[in-house]
């Protein structure tokens, strides 16, 4: 970990103690995880504390972790199972069809997260903050619009695309999808082809919505390789032992 990151991590640990679930470094960036109850308190301190001074919220985005690590192609047992290594259709998000359902692979309360990217112009550094919504069926996260005004539209976007509710938001409307749109399109269980398609009906003389007629098509399956270049030393040893 570089010097300035280490310094920031220490400052965070000293300031917040057990209010942060974790502080981790990866790829030269610092990520802190916060409990949803303490978000507002932590966010206000991050902005107002002189040593931190994260004046600006650069980005806020929703993430749906429900299919994290799921693949469509088995790569481990190639020689034993021959060439039909494709995972059954319908069970993975790329091949999701109209009306199909997907099971979440993560434990309860770890599905929806909001990720905040902060920047401090005074100290010239960045921080990533992650908050998980505790209820998967009804994800609620308090709004940070009082702390950073720009969060207004970002939270509307995360609500629109992921269905994360930001409690206390002044005007939580859909923003990117069409007026009257149903569903939250960036959730992993929302098919890429969508649910409805629209056309002009010359008899009714208006635009009509119908269930989609196109088939989802995936040209390249989602593949995970046990690539030795990316394994840590322990993992590499494990792979060696298996072989």
């Amino acid at each position: 970990m570089s010097n300035s990151l280490q310094q920031l991590a220490d400052t965070l640990r000293n300031t917040f103690a057990d209010k942060l679930v974790s502080v981790e470094e990866g790829f030269g960036e610092l990520t802190a995880e916060v409990n949803v109850d303490q978000l507002i308190e932590v966010a206000s301190t991050l902005r107002d504390n002189e040593d931190l001074a994260f004046q600006q919220l650069v980005d806020l985005c929703g993430v749906d972790y429900s299919q994290f690590g799921q693949t469509e192609w088995q790569t481990n047992d190639a020689s034993r199972s021959g060439f039909s290594r494709g995972v059954d259709s319908g069970t993975t998000m790329g091949r999701l069809q109209f009306g199909d359902e997907l099971d979440s692979v993560v434990s309860e309360g770890r599905r929806f997260a909001a990720v905040y990217h902060l920047i401090s112009y005074r100290h010239n550094r960045r921080l990533r903050l992650r908050v998980f919504a505790t209820d998967d069926d009804f994800p609620v996260i308090p709004t940070v619009t009082e702390v950073w005004r720009v969060a207004d539209w970002y939270e509307r976007e995360a609500f629109d695309l992921f269905g994360i509710l930001f409690s206390g938001h002044p005007d939580l409307r859909r923003i990117l999808t069409d007026y009257g749109f149903v569903g939250h399109p960036f959730r992993k269980d929302f098919p890429l082809v969508g649910h409805v398609e629209m056309r002009y009906d010359p008899e009714k003389e208006r635009v009509v919505y119908e269930p989609v007629s196109i088939e989802p098509r995936v040209l390249v399956p989602r593949v995970k390789r046990e690539d030795h270049r990316y394994l840590s030393a322990d993992q590499a040893d494990e792979v060696q032992d298996d072989a």
Binding site: F27, D59, C61, F68, T71, V115, R128, I175, D178, V220
Partner: protein, 417 residues
């Protein structure tokens, strides 16, 4: 006649001053704006979701279509995020080429901005002038990538190919006389770098022309001075970046403060405004064009002297050369794997930001170790800027809304994504 005081006005989505498909619902008191409610999303294509279902390299072309007037800067943000996760080195020459094209793109973007902004405010000639110069820059794009707009030139680990030694020529035909074709071809006799250098020599003179038309223009000043004032404190709160932030007096530029590629070797200055109004953001952008011109010159000098690789020779992420594919078994396998499955990124997440002409353009990439991203979030500068519309327009006249849209440099490709 009954007295009507408050009413709601619908502006757009099809309106030439809306810069695309912006629908603005304005609550007015007479001619004064009380509340502005922008309705966006009419150009929403779900780029981020599409990227989740494609191998990494196939989404580069989508990035062009975000902010479709600064194509290569979008690509740059995306490939930088991938490179950060992969941890690969980009050859020095490729870094210089990227910096040069980022700055060419910045000039292109600012030329479109000044043309349309001035046109909205009532200065027709600016538009014609700005598009005259954009033509040369599009030719540079075309010479290097084959496309005038959606270049798809950047690659993970470098750029698609080296700069060409010749420029395409105009031909004599029924509509273009020999004399006319020769005039157009006059500065296209050498390599792309010669053509670009010729442009950088001419360009400062063109900027002077723009400034003669606008800087002290009474109408231009009446329409922009004191309009849409944003203080430094509010600029942070409203998520302003790039020229919008600098217009409010913050000396901040990612190219200087968090340098990427070879910007730390470049000699250039950051222009800063004082009042944070529409007029202040105009000289900021004008000066940025001059500074970009300086950077391009420095890149040209370096690129002339230093031939070399333009894409990494790590064939796990970048395809081998055609001869290697034909003659070498390993090259063939690399080629096959790259174009059938793509490359996998290590599990993790990264945020890479570039100083885009409009502000900070960031890509937040979450990888679960697969050959496709798990989540891509595009941080578009225009999205934050447009969300400040209500605060900037409140209390101004209807006609000032047009000036504010112009100064924000709105492009819907990136806002709606």
């Amino acid at each position: 006649m009954p007295e009507i005081k408050n009413y709601t006005l619908n502006f757009g989505p099809q309106h030439p001053a809306a810069h695309g498909v912006l629908r603005l619902v304005l609550e007015m008191d007479g001619e004064v704006i009380e509340r502005a409610d922008p309705h966006v999303g009419l150009l929403h294509r779900g780029t981020e979701k599409l990227a989740e279902t494609k191998p990494y390299s196939q989404s580069i072309a989508y990035m062009d279509r975000l902010d479709y007037v600064s194509m290569m800067c979008n690509e740059h943000g995306y490939v930088m995020a991938i490179e950060k996760l992969l941890g690969i080195e980009v050859p020095e020459r490729a870094q210089y080429i990227r910096v040069m094209f980022d700055e060419i793109t910045r000039i292109r973007n600012h030329l479109l901005w000044i043309g349309t902004h001035a046109l909205d405010v009532g200065a027709m000639t600016m538009f014609l002038y700005a598009f005259r110069e954009r033509e040369d820059l599009m030719d540079i794009y075309e010479a290097v990538s084959g496309a005038r707009v959606h270049a798809a030139y950047y690659r993970t680990g470098g750029v698609a190919r080296d700069l060409p030694d010749t420029m395409p020529q105009y031909l004599e035909n029924r509509w273009r006389s020999k004399k006319e074709a020769d005039r157009l071809n006059k500065n296209r006799q050498g390599s792309l770098l010669d053509f670009a250098e010729d442009f950088t020599n001419r360009f400062p003179g063109y900027i002077d022309e723009y400034e003669t038309l606008l800087t002290d223009n009474r109408i231009w000043k009446q329409r922009t001075v004191g309009i849409g004032v944003v203080s430094e404190e509010r600029a942070y709160q409203l998520g302003f970046t790039g020229p919008m932030l600098r217009g409010s007096g913050v000396e901040w530029d990612l190219r200087k403060k968090q340098p990427y590629e070879v910007y730390d070797r470049m000699d250039f200055d950051i222009p800063v405004g004082t009042n944070g109004d529409c007029y202040d953001r105009y000289p900021v952008r004008i000066e940025e064009m001059r500074q970009s011109n300086r950077i391009i010159k420095q890149c040209i000098d370096w690129l002339r002297k230093n031939p070399g690789l333009v894409i990494t020779d790590n064939h796990k992420v970048a395809a081998p050369r055609r001869e290697e594919i034909k003659a070498d078994m390993e090259g063939l396998i690399h080629h096959f794997k790259l174009f059938s499955e793509g490359y996998s990124l290590p599990e993790g997440e990264a945020y890479a930001a570039v100083e885009h002409p409009k502000g900070e353009f960031g890509i937040y990439l979450i990888s679960d170790g697969a050959n496709k991203p798990y989540r891509v979030k595009i941080r578009a500068p225009g999205f934050a800027h447009l969300s400040a519309m209500n605060e900037m327009a409140k209390g101004h006249m209807l006609a000032d809304v047009v000036a504010i849209i112009g100064t924000q440099d709105i492009v819907f490709g990136e806002i709606d994504r």
